[in-house]
């Protein structure tokens, strides 16, 4: 409820919208995915793992006796899985629902530290931090996208290659999904304009470099598609600009509903980028004025 309020939406309205989106997405999963019941059950377990954070569980372990700790963990896992269970029951998948209940309960025994000591080398280390951290989080996904794009070339499935290319930009967009704490902005001895310009420059440069891993083979194997590839790169780069200015448009608060809608609609309908980017840039500059001179 607090998170919804922080999002700038009436909590009851937010809850209603959230329920609607959940039902809509569930219907899509059951329509589009093979063996949807298993995928859906897996999805519920993925959601449950957000409760398995180590520091959170350490706190619960310290605060409560062992038995009570496990009861709390089982209950909260089951509460999180309730929407999924209802939908599985609605679809008549009682056995999968039962398995989901058992798995949810067993997941109370698992904790994820989220901190790995294994340092993954990154080509973006010289210019921290969005791409260096993002690359470490998503390098497997990037490799998969590149492999699929090569498969698309050998299968003569150009559309799949284009999807991979755009997917590469979408992955880069996720590098800007979290706002940095105020300290990480405050340290800059720059004006908001210079700060934003440098952030945009880094985002464009690095995302362009990554996109080349897919774009060059696509063009090399079929030069007639150069125009389409170039168009996707231009849109992808504009999306990068959009997300950089967007993330600071309500800084240090999280993006409000209108800003989120602006960003999503501009990504879905690229002509809107030409309006959304200047608008969000102006808002970001104004918000950053508080911390940068």
């Amino acid at each position: 409820m607090r998170a919804i309020t922080g999002f700038g939406v009436n909590p009851f309205l937010g809850l209603t919208i959230g329920t609607g989106i959940f039902i809509w997405m569930s219907i899509i999963v059951f329509k589009k995915v093979n063996y949807p019941q298993y995928f859906y059950s897996f999805l519920s377990l993925v959601v449950i793992t957000t409760l398995s954070n180590k520091s959170r569980n350490d706190f619960l372990k310290i605060t409560f006796f062992r038995k009570k700790y496990f009861i709390i963990r089982i209950f909260e896992n089951l509460i999180y899985s309730i929407p999924f269970l209802f939908f599985l029951a609605y679809k008549g998948e009682y056995l999968v629902a039962l398995i989901t209940i058992v798995m949810s309960s067993l997941f109370s025994l698992i904790t994820f530290s989220g901190k790995s000591a294994l340092v993954i080398p990154t080509p973006f280390s010289k210019r921290p931090y969005e791409f260096s951290i993002g690359f470490r989080r998503t390098y497997l996904l990037l490799i998969i996208l590149i492999i699929i794009s090569f498969i698309s070339i050998f299968d003569h499935n150009f559309n799949l290659g284009i999807v991979c290319l755009f997917g590469m930009f979408l992955v880069c967009i996720t590098y800007y999904s979290e706002q940095e704490p105020v300290f990480y902005v405050w340290i800059y001895a720059q004006s908001p304009q210079v700060f934003l310009r440098k952030k945009i420059k880094t985002a464009l440069y690095f995302s362009f470099l990554l996109s080349l891993f897919i774009a060059i083979p696509l063009i090399c194997f079929n030069t007639s598609y150069t125009y389409q590839v170039a168009l996707v790169i231009v849109i992808g780069l504009l999306d990068m600009v959009l997300i950089v200015v967007g993330i600071y448009s309500n800084y240090p608060a999280r993006l409000n509903l209108i800003q989120n809608i602006q960003i999503i609609t501009a990504i879905v309908f690229p002509p809107l980028l030409l309006f959304a980017i200047p608008n969000l840039y102006y808002q970001a500059k104004r918000r950053l004025n508080v911390f940068l001179i």
């Binding site: 000591a117 340092v119 010289k126 921290p128 951290i133 940095e180 405050w186 340290i187 001895a189």
Partner: protein
């Protein structure tokens, strides 16, 4: 020199800082001391320009924020960022791009590991190293000795003396009175949002005695029925 005139800060109806007037001269080490919740961190954030405030903070050396190194009580490190990348980020933020940063690793930290996996003390040392590399003129250090081992405490003390010799302005806080007593030229006692005393070295005993008097009433402990 930094001059604070009639600085006040409120969070809605809650007044955290009330009519603060202070002067920090170059080449001096100033300590801010006070109980938990006295307003030390808020004062530091106002000085650094992280929080807005009422009143005037005047600095004769240019834009204060751009020459200030701020050490928070608990430095925050982004996930999956190595110590070396953190130092690079801090340097880049101030337009410093050259040099082999590893040679300035005075605390011998494992810079190629993720900073979030460091211990509390190591994280503080990394944050201090970053501030030193930024070549700041003003240092605002919130609890720099907190969570750091004895040998590193001694290094930090030596760093403070060196910065003083280099004519830097240093403002720090600590809940350990002895660390401030050894390092500071001036002590400012912050109580309930107001500066109660501002005293030069040699008169710190007044503040120490005042703080001892403010200690917890023993009858409260007795009333807790501890077993």
């Amino acid at each position: 020199m930094i001059r604070i005139n009639s600085l006040s800060k409120s969070y809605d109806a809650h007044r955290v800082l009330i009519d603060i007037n202070l002067k920090f001269v170059k080449g001096e080490i100033h300590g801010i001391i006070g109980e938990n919740g006295a307003g030390k961190t808020t004062l530091f954030k106002c000085l650094a320009g992280i929080e807005d405030y009422k009143g005037i903070i005047d600095y004769d050396g240019g834009i204060l924020k751009n020459q200030t190194g701020f050490l928070p009580t608990f430095p925050y490190f982004l996930s999956l960022m190595t110590g070396l990348e953190y130092l690079k980020l801090l340097c880049h933020a101030r337009g410093i791009y050259d040099g082999n940063l590893e040679q300035f690793n005075l605390f011998e930290l494992p810079l190629k590991q993720y900073a979030e996996t460091y211990s509390t003390g190591m994280q503080k040392k990394l944050a201090i190293t970053g501030l030193l590399l930024q070549k700041n003129e003003v240092f605002i250090l919130d609890e720099p000795f907190n969570g750091v081992d004895i040998s590193s405490n001694m290094i930090i003390h030596d760093i403070l003396i060196k910065l003083k010799q280099l004519n830097k302005t240093i403002i720090l806080s600590s809940h350990i009175f002895s660390t401030l007593q050894d390092s500071c030229d001036f002590l400012h006692y912050l109580k309930e949002g107001r500066i109660k005393y501002s005293l030069p070295r040699g008169s710190f005993e007044t503040i120490e005695n005042e703080m001892k008097k403010e200690g917890l009433d023993k009858t409260v402990i007795d009333s807790m029925y501890l077993r």
